[in-house]
């Protein structure tokens, strides 16, 4: 086995294991919303790893681009969710519609639903998996996306979010707007990924 082939296999196996453990099992078993968020982020990174492995398999830039767009989506959603999701059980927090809305937007982007950039991240990963001919990984990723609804429902059903005001509110709103802007204009995220890769498509 060549070094490139072994690296591809390793990335695929790590992606698969992390996806199964991170998104499917540990995020459902988490006791607090913060724990759930951590495991969901790990699951999101597993999708990026899948994109990386598929890119190495097909030896083109689409997989690497998918990996970077997915990583951008995960980081933005995680940062947004971390601002509004309480670290402990949220029994005594006052109601805040803005926090609840921002938390939902972050989670929707993490599970790959619009209007966030997570939709495009996952879509590009799925496409690169299909290009690499890895049907098993595509099916696994789609099943993983369906299972990710369980922690999403647990989070939305578990109560209130941290009420945010002032600078924190503006920062969180800015992150949400950026997530949605990249969802509405994915060319920006893809250009950013291309810039990072140093690849020109002109």
């Amino acid at each position: 086995m060549t070094p490139e082939a072994s690296a591809t296999t390793l990335a695929a196996i790590v992606g698969c294991t992390v996806l199964l453990l991170g998104a499917a099992i540990l995020s459902i078993r988490a006791r607090t919303n913060a724990e759930t968020l951590v495991w969901m982020v790990v699951g999101g990174i597993a999708y990026a790893l899948f994109g990386l492995a598929a890119g190495m398999q097909t030896a083109d830039s689409n997989g690497l681009r998918a990996c970077l767009v997915q990583l951008t989506a995960v980081l933005l959603s995680a940062a947004l969710a971390a601002l509004v999701i309480p670290k402990q059980k949220p029994e005594n927090l006052p109601q805040s519609s803005l926090s609840a809305l921002l938390a939902r937007l972050a989670w929707l982007s993490l599970i790959g639903l619009p209007p966030g950039v997570g939709f495009h991240g996952k879509l590009l990963v799925y496409r690169s998996l299909l290009e690499a001919g890895w049907m098993w990984a595509l099916v696994l990723s789609l099943v993983g996306s369906a299972i990710a609804l369980i922690p999403f429902f647990q989070m939305t059903g578990s109560g209130r979010c941290i009420p945010i005001r002032g600078l924190r509110a503006m920062f969180a709103t800015g992150l949400a707007v950026l997530t949605m802007a990249l969802g509405a204009y994915p060319a920006l995220a893809i250009d950013f990924a291309d810039f990072l890769l140093g690849v020109s498509f002109i």
Binding site: R104, F119, L123, L138, G157, T173, Y185, A187
Partner: protein
């Protein structure tokens, strides 16, 4: 482009206002004026809904103004730069979809007026903004000419409706999202296979590129697309979200019950008859026809045994998706005449109008009398005749009774299956029609001539306006069916005319 006109800009600004109001109310709560009395709160509550109705009316007029340009089969396209080399934000206004856009705007306008008339309504600016968002996404979906854009707006419509229902009842919202999202993933698998096979995401290019595909691959893709859209159409066995929504949030169930099937049927028509050559996928015909008959009969029988009007409307909505599946299934036969696609096209316009009338009648009765149990509403005709008339014409149009609009759709469907010698399909359709008509007449008899007389007088101006509007539109289409039939023929000749040898007439 041809779409950037002053009225388009005005519509867009009107659409933005409720979102802006909702955001300002969240970010700057102290800027809002204090509301001191119930009367002030009541008068302010209707504002966002009336604004939404006005925006929808402008959308209707804008759609109608485009019709003369498109009636000769021409199309208006808009292609925006979304990604450089993968997929584009492509839109296409053609004679098939512009009437559907007008229908969505009309449904949105009537729903806004209905919501303005409901007695209790928390956070009206949020709900109006989300309804407008769902409506806008449904319009964008109808106009999309790219499979990725179509999927994006399918999902976004679902998210907007999930937000509306989830704010009212979390479990019902979650069941809605889970059921439809799992279907979306199956649909996505089918779209990804098309993308990989064709190396192109433009819907108009797909039929030519798919011609070279293996027949087995085509069958798999067609089945994935059909199965993926079943939850949106509320077809058996993916109909549970509608029943749980009616049980948990009866006052708002009509929003997903009306919008999601329109969206699902539009996507189905765009992707299957509009994107693939159906006679090349005969296995789709068997599956679609079997699911269609099951949906039709389960819906019709459960509607007959329903104890509440809300559940009856939900089961009739489910039953009506069965007709669409039967038409698509019959069109997938190698010898199928084009009348089946015409039936599916007519279904897309006539069924939502009848269901709109039915759901609004049910909503009006529930909000006026505090219940929708049939046994508690016996004899209600004497105090509220209009809702019962709305229920009757909506239900009988669904049963295909002449001269209501549903009759024309069923006439084409029955003549088609008779011509093909599909006697079992004809038996299933006529049997289900008889059951639906019997169920509607039975409920109308109990509500009209029951012994209990309701002491409540029915006074709800906005509910009256919305219901009367829906009834007038349905009766107008019933009295003047010719434009509807001409439209379906024109759509068949242009946007839906696809053959592997000759290509699409719309190109």
């Amino acid at each position: 482009m041809g779409l950037i006109r002053p009225d388009t800009v005005i519509v867009n600004w009107l659409l933005m206002l409720p979102f802006f109001a909702a955001l300002c109310a969240e970010l700057f709560p102290r800027l809002a004026l204090p509301v001191n009395t119930e009367r002030e709160a009541e008068s302010l509550r209707r504002g966002p809904y009336l604004l939404g109705a006005l925006a929808s009316l402008m959308g209707c007029l804008l759609g109608c103004s485009l019709l003369p340009q498109l009636s000769n089969g021409s199309i208006i396209t808009a292609d925006y730069w979304w990604t450089k080399d993968l997929y584009h934000l492509r839109f296409q206004a053609d004679i098939l979809m512009i009437p559907i856009v007008v229908l969505i705007c009309l449904v949105g306008m009537v729903l806004h007026l209905h919501l303005a008339g409901l007695p209790v309504s928390r956070e009206p600016h949020h709900r109006a903004a989300l309804l407008l968002a769902a409506q806008g996404c449904a319009i964008a979906l109808c106009l999309s000419a790219d499979i990725v854009v179509l999927f994006f707006f399918l999902e976004l419509t679902l998210v907007a409706l999930w937000f509306v229902i989830e704010r009212e009842d979390r479990d019902a919202g979650n069941i809605l999202l889970a059921s439809v999202y799992v279907g979306s993933l199956v649909l996505l698998a089918g779209l990804l296979v098309i993308w990989l096979q064709c190396r192109e995401t433009s819907i108009s290019a797909i039929p030519f590129l798919l011609v070279s595909a293996e027949p087995s691959l085509l069958q798999i893709v067609a089945l994935l697309l059909l199965i993926g859209l079943l939850p949106r159409l509320a077809c058996v066995p993916s109909h549970s979200w509608l029943i749980s929504t009616v049980s948990s949030t009866p006052a708002l169930a009509f929003l997903p019950a009306l919008l999601l099937p329109i969206v699902g049927a539009s996507a189905l028509l765009r992707l299957l008859p509009g994107g693939m050559v159906l006679p090349m996928v005969p296995s789709l015909g068997v599956v679609a026809a079997a699911l269609g008959v099951a949906t039709l009969w389960v819906g019709a029988l459960r509607a007959w045994f329903s104890r509440t009007l809300g559940h009856m409307a939900a089961w009739l909505t489910i039953a009506h998706s069965g007709y669409l599946l039967l038409a698509i299934g019959a069109a997938a036969s190698p010898t199928a005449p084009p009348v089946f696609i015409q039936t599916a096209t007519l279904h897309l316009l006539t069924a939502p109008l009848a269901l709109l009338c039915l759901w609004l009648a049910v909503g009006t009765l529930r909000s006026s009398f505090g219940t929708d149990r049939i046994s508690d509403l016996e004899g209600v005709f004497r105090s509220a005749p209009l809702p019962l008339c709305g229920f009757l014409i909506g239900g009988l149009s669904l049963a295909g009774l002449p001269p209501l609009p549903g009759f024309h759709m069923q006439r084409f469907l029955v003549s088609g299956v008779m011509g093909e010698g599909m006697w079992w399909s004809m038996t299933a359709i006529v049997g289900a029609d008889i059951i639906i008509a019997a169920a509607v007449f039975d409920v109308a008899r109990r509500l009209g001539f029951g012994k209990k007389a309701s002491p409540v007088r029915w006074r709800a101006p906005w509910l009256t306006v919305s219901l009367a509007l829906a009834g007038i539109v349905l009766l107008t289409v019933a009295v003047f069916p010719a434009p509807l039939i001409h439209w379906s023929e024109a759509a068949l000749r242009t946007a839906l005319s696809i053959s592997p040898a000759g290509g699409s007439a719309s190109q």
